[in-house]
C-alpha cells in the first residue's frame, strides 16, 4: 500500500450530486478538500445523442442499470431479492449524468411525517430551515419553472422559463383542467435559456443518455468546475475500499485502488461519504475494525436498514392523434400533486406525485415504452400494435412515498464483488401494503385523467422494476444515536469526524425525485460544518 499522500483536511468520497455541492461549499470558505471518485469525467461530446444508433446505447453502456452496463467503474448489485432494481451511474456527476433532471423540492409536510401522520419520524429540520439552501442550489444548478405553484410555499424566481409542453404536455394539462386537479410545469434542472455559461436545451428528447449540449444540469458542468477552480482536488479512477479508523476511534482516511490498480491510503482529518443510498452503507459495512465489528459508525445497527425507493406505477394513455412525445425532455413537462398530502379516507397514509413523462423513439416503443409495459406482440399483430403506439402515447409516472421499514435493507453480498474484489451490495426489499394501496389509487386516478385528456386506451404497469434511481434512508439522520446513524449536522454519532451527506440520510422519502432536497441538505450540512470548523477543533 502506498501511503505517501499527505493528510488532507476534508476527504469527500463520491463526486455525484451531494459530493459536488458539499465540496464546492467548503471550497468557497477556503477549506482544503479532496474528492475520490471511482468513475471518471464524461465528455459531453461523446454522449450518443448524435449517433445513428443512439437508441441502442440504452441497452448497453448508457443503461442506468449497473448490472447491464458493466463498465469498469461499475460494481454489480444483487437485486434478486427486490422487485425494484437499483439504478445509478459512477462518474464525476454520478447519477446526475443520466437523470431526467425532474427537480421538485420536498414539501413542508415531508419533513414532519412522524408528527403529522404518526408513522416514521420527523426530519430534525424544516422546509424553512432548508429554504436558503434550496435557493442557493437552484441558483448554481439553473432551474426552469414558474413561481406561483399553489402546491408549494412561495419560491424564489426560477432561473429560466418552464420547459415547453408540446402537444403531449398540453393534452394532459387539459385533462387535469377538465377534472379540476392540480398541475404545474415541473421545476427542471434544464436550461430553457442560456444560463450559467451553458446553452439552452434544444428539446432533443433522450436526457437519459446524457446531455450533449450541457443544457441539462449535471454536477460535472455545474458545481465541479467551480469547486476545482477553487482548488478542490478531484481524483478520478479512485475506488475506495474502506474508511480506516485510528486508535482514537476517529476516521483517519480512506484505502482506495488507484487508476494504476495499486492500493493507496489517503489520510484525512475529516471524511465525508457521498456514495448514494447503496454505496454509502456498502462502504461503511465494508469498513470493519475491532472497534466497529458490524461496520463503521454502526452501533445503532441501522447502517443499510430502512432502505427506501420510490415505488413507481406507470400508466400510459394511447391516443388517436400523434402527440410527438419524442420531442422535449423525456421526464420533464408537468406534474400533479393533487394527491400528495395524506387523506386517510383513501386507505393509505402519505401520497404521491404524478410526473408526466414523454415517449421516445421506435426502439423504446417496440420494447414497451417508458412505462415498461412489455414488448409489443411479434408476428402478424406487430405492425398494428406499433402503429397504434408510436408517437401516440403519454405516460404518467406515479411516484409513491415509501416509508422506512427495518427489513428493507442493503447488506453485503457473500459472493458478489466488484473487479477489485470489494463485496457488492445486496438489496432486500418488499413493497408494503401502504405502497400497494397507494399505487392502486394512483393508477386509477391516472387512468381518469388520461381518459379526460382523450386517451382511447389506457395500459398500466403496477410496479416498474427499472425504477430504483432514488436510493434513500440507509444511514438515517436523527437525534437519538440508538435510532439513527448521523446527527442533525450530518455527523456520525459514533465517529465525530465522519459525515454522510447523500440520500442515505433522508429520514423519510417524500413523493418527489429527491435530488433537489439531497443537495439542499448537503449545502446545509456544509454550512454547519464551516461554522463548527471556525468555532472548535474536532480533535
Amino acid at each position: 500500500m502506498e501511503s505517501g499522500n499527505s493528510e488532507v483536511d476534508v476527504l469527500v468520497i463520491g463526486a455525484g450530486a451531494a459530493g459536488a455541492a458539499f465540496a464546492w461549499s467548503l471550497s468557497e470558505a477556503g477549506i482544503e478538500v479532496m474528492c475520490l471518485e471511482q468513475g471518471g469525467w464524461v465528455d459531453p461530446a461523446a454522449y450518443p445523442s448524435a449517433d445513428d444508433d443512439w437508441q441502442l446505447s440504452r441497452l448497453s453502456h448508457m443503461s442506468p442499470d449497473p448490472n447491464v452496463r458493466g463498465l469498469s467503474q461499475d460494481y454489480p448489485v444483487n437485486d434478486a431479492d427486490s422487485p425494484i432494481s437499483p439504478l445509478m451511474y459512477n462518474s464525476v456527476g454520478g447519477s446526475t449524468i443520466h437523470w431526467s433532471a425532474h427537480f421538485p423540492r420536498f414539501r413542508p409536510s415531508d419533513f414532519r411525517v412522524g408528527s403529522l401522520d404518526g408513522v416514521a419520524d420527523d426530519f430534525p429540520m424544516t422546509y424553512e430551515d432548508l429554504e436558503p439552501y434550496f435557493d442557493l442550489n437552484d441558483q448554481i444548478t439553473g432551474v426552469a419553472g414558474m413561481v406561483g405553484d399553489p402546491a408549494y410555499p412561495p419560491k424564489s424566481p426560477r432561473q429560466t422559463p418552464p420547459i415547453p409542453l408540446g402537444a403531449l404536455g398540453e393534452t394532459i394539462a387539459r385533462g387535469f383542467d377538465t377534472l379540476g386537479w392540480h398541475w404545474w410545469p415541473s421545476d427542471s434542472a434544464i436550461n430553457t435559456a442560456e444560463y450559467g455559461g451553458r446553452p439552452r436545451c434544444n428539446n432533443c428528447g433522450p436526457c437519459d443518455i446524457g446531455c450533449y449540449r450541457r443544457a441539462k444540469a449535471s454536477t460535472d458542468v455545474t458545481y465541479w468546475p467551480r469547486a476545482v477552480g477553487n482548488g478542490v482536488v478531484l481524483k478520478t479512477g479512485a475506488r475506495v475500499r474502506e474508511i480506516t479508523v485510528g486508535p482514537d476511534g476517529l476516521a483517519d482516511g480512506a484505502v482506495y485502488y488507484g487508476p494504476d490498480g495499486r492500493v493507496h491510503k489517503q489520510k484525512a482529518k475529516v471524511v465525508v461519504l457521498a456514495c448514494n443510498g447503496l454505496g454509502t452503507p456498502r462502504l461503511l459495512l465494508n469498513s470493519t475494525s475491532a472497534r466497529f465489528p458490524d461496520g463503521l459508525a454502526n452501533s445503532s445497527g441501522l447502517v443499510g436498514k430502512n432502505l427506501m425507493f420510490h415505488p413507481y406505477a406507470m400508466v400510459t394513455g394511447i391516443f388517436d392523434e400523434p402527440l410527438d412525445g419524442y420531442m422535449g425532455p423525456i421526464g420533464c413537462a408537468i406534474l400533479s400533486q393533487e394527491f400528495y398530502e395524506t387523506d386517510l379516507s383513501r386507505g393509505f397514509v402519505r401520497g404521491y406525485t404524478m410526473q408526466i413523462a414523454r415517449s421516445s423513439g421506435p426502439v423504446s416503443t417496440a420494447l414497451g415504452g417508458i412505462g415498461g409495459h412489455g414488448m409489443l406482440p411479434w408476428g402478424p399483430d406487430h405492425r398494428g400494435a406499433f402503429a397504434e403506439r408510436m408517437s401516440r402515447t403519454l405516460t404518467i409516472a406515479v411516484i409513491g412515498e415509501d416509508l422506512p421499514e427495518h427489513h428493507n435493507a442493503v447488506t453485503l453480498d457473500p459472493e458478489l464483488a466488484d473487479s477489485d474484489g470489494i463485496p457488492a451490495p445486496k438489496v432486500s426489499y418488499t413493497l408494503s401494503e401502504n405502497s400497494s394501496s397507494m399505487l392502486e389509487h394512483g393508477i386509477a386516478r391516472s387512468a381518469e385523467v388520461l381518459q379526460a385528456a382523450g386517451a382511447r386506451e389506457v395500459v398500466s404497469n403496477p410496479l416498474l422494476r427499472a425504477s430504483g434511481w432514488h436510493l434513500m434512508g440507509t444511514a438515517r439522520m436523527g437525534t437519538d444515536p440508538a435510532g439513527s446513524v448521523v446527527d442533525p449536522s450530518g455527523r456520525c454519532h459514533d465517529v465525530k469526524n465522519l459525515y454522510v451527506i447523500d440520500g442515505s440520510i433522508l429520514v423519510t422519502s417524500g413523493a418527489v425525485n429527491p435530488t433537489s432536497t439531497i443537495q439542499a441538505l448537503a449545502l446545509y450540512i456544509a454550512d454547519r460544518f464551516k461554522t463548527g470548523a471556525r468555532q472548535a477543533r474536532y480533535r
Binding site: L56, P150, T192
Partner: protein, 155 residues
Amino acid sequence: MPDDSTTFLSEAQATLLADVLDSIVPGGDGLPGAGELGVASHLDGVVSGSTRLRRVFTEGLAAIEIVSSRLFTRAFSDLSEDQRVQVLKRIESEHAAFFRELVRQTYAGYYTRQDVAALLGLEARPPQPLGYILEPFDPSTLENVKGRGKIYREI
C-alpha cells in the same frame, strides 16, 4: 446497405434466422420484414460478443428446426407463414428465455435503423445536433390551477 456478413452464425443458421426474423417483424405497409432487411447481422454481432448468448442462440435455432420437423415434418424455411408462426409460438413457450432475447434484439436491430425511421414517416436522424422546436410555455394555461388556492399542508 444492410451488412450481410456474419461472424458467429453459420450460413445455414443465418438463412434460418432471416426467415425467423421475417416472422417476428413481418413486412407490410411499404416496410420490409426484419429478415429481408438484414437484421440477422445485427443479432449476429450481439450474440457473437457473449459466450452465454452464443450457447442460447445455438440451442434456440436448433430447437426451431426440431419443432418445425416435429410439427410439420419439414424445415422451417419450407413452411407457410401460418405454420412458421405456430412453430415460433411453441418455441416462445418451450424456450422462453431464448425467445425473449430473440424478439428483443430483433426489435432493437430493426428499429434502430434510419431507413426504417424514414419509412415510418419519422425524421430519419439522431436527436442531436438539431433537436426539435417546441412552442414556449404559455402561462395563461395555468389560470384554472391558480384560481384554486393553496393545496399544501402548512406546518
